[in-house]
Amino acid sequence: MSVASEVQKLKKRYPDPLSAVMPALQVAQAENGGWLSPDAIREVADALDLTPAYCLSIASFYDQYYLEPVGRTHVEVCTNVSCGLAGAQQVVEAFERELGVSAGSTTDDGAFTLGTIECLGGCGWATVVAVNNRHRLRVQAEDVPGIVEELRGA
């Protein structure tokens, strides 16, 4: 289904179609390989009869809209207090070593983006690592080589 027709469906869920802007951006981002290009933003704007500037103001406010290309596999390590106490920093460093990039960047082949992230709401199962928004719990630095190998094979 095209983004435009998907957005028409989303609009019907709300009393005011403006409420559909967040789910519409999510749909457009998924359709565009995980990030919101200027064209993807324009598509949402057209479907909702908004300006691209308005849609960009929404996309830039929320952390889960990406305004630059991201890797096919997006790895985000929670580094808030509870994960930090459990060794999140060592987990970040292990991913940096295995992937050969520093946190906040994408591998040259576009396969992986590595980032850190604020509290994922899994403090009791620290360290929490989100892989394409799916949470892996109780990750320790020594688990990281195996995880990366698994993700490379996937």
Partner: protein, 442 residues
Amino acid sequence: MPEYPSIVFAGTTDGGAVLDIIEYEKAGGFRALRKARAMAPDAVIAELDASGLRGRGGAFFPTGRKWSFVPKPDQLPKPHYLVVNADESEPGTFKDREIMLRVPFRFLEGCLIAAHGIESHHVFIYIRGEYEREFEVLRDSLEAIRKADLLGGVTVVLHRGAGAYICGEETALLESLEGKRGQPRTKPPFPAIAGLYAAPTAVNNVESITTVTPVFEMGGAEYAKLGVENSSGTRVFSLSGDVVSPGNYELPHGISMRELIYDVGGGVPAGRELKAVIPGGSSTSVLTSADIDTKMDFTSLVEAGSSIGSAGVIVIDDRCCMVQLGIRVSQFYEHESCGKCTPCRVGTKWVTQILQKIEDGRGSQADLDLLLSVCDRIMGKCLCPLGDSDAIAVLSYVDKFRDEYQAHIDLGRCPFDGESSLEGILAPSELHAHHGHEPAHV
């Protein structure tokens, strides 16, 4: 340890879930909904008042009273809305996700009871974007309820957030749900009068709404017998940090912190000592090992100088540098500040910078004074409590661990010499430059 009743998680064992609607109904599910729907809306609110249930999101506002503020449809002829806050993001808190994963039908049943209580036909559940599995469970459970013809003319919409802690603040959540940037509104008017689409709206937390169901199963008066005065019922405590058995534990209000951390959580790992406890999510004042016998209820924690908040209990042992803790917590609020109010937008960044200077050994006595002064000039001066949360947390670290802060200044270095358990923890704000809110004038 005594056996405590399971109310929110009733019917589940060993962390299991009830994901089948037939199984849920066989165990007594939807009885509460039928009972509530046979009652007049005012009687529903009265039953909830009798239970003493107070909001589990952090503010502890009486749930029944919140509903009673929503005008009757004939007083204000607009659509009425129930909005459920499932944007759980307070560091240290992870209870709502487990509730949604394990007892989704109890939660959704509570939504329908609440909708009846405030005479609403529209429920919106705002769930944080990072909760992918939780969203799927709710979507499937909702579909099962629809097929079982239990919605009773109520529409329930799941709305996914996209990564913004501030949307846990109720007016920011409503802005976000309306398709705007999640920035808090001026209050009054309060959501009960002018909430979603400027119409009467009740905003409730997931655990509060889930608890509504057992309140109607057992009766408000019976529920009120659990817990202690001013804090009735059970609470799902999220226990994390330096503790042997972290996890969510449903216990009655009023158990002691010692019982929670040692008897339930197994204590701090061997060879270490308890240093500090954050009792209700990162925005609450820190307590120390001297406070270990404090009871975990609203009044007792206020008397101890803190707050029960979201009941997210973070245990910290003696390996942790309290200046580093301050930096990490302040970085969080700095990153999550929506940028609307100057004291928060500028102040949270400033607090982080001063703390970093002290941690690096470049801090002077004047910096410590400045830190306290900046916190003081954030407190109570913004539209929402986000900036206050940073200030409250940091002020409490300085207050309770003044000697440690002083030592950083006197020694000209961190006394932990690179051995703190939070050593080198990274800040997402530095890594997500395009999401930073650079203050125009620092």
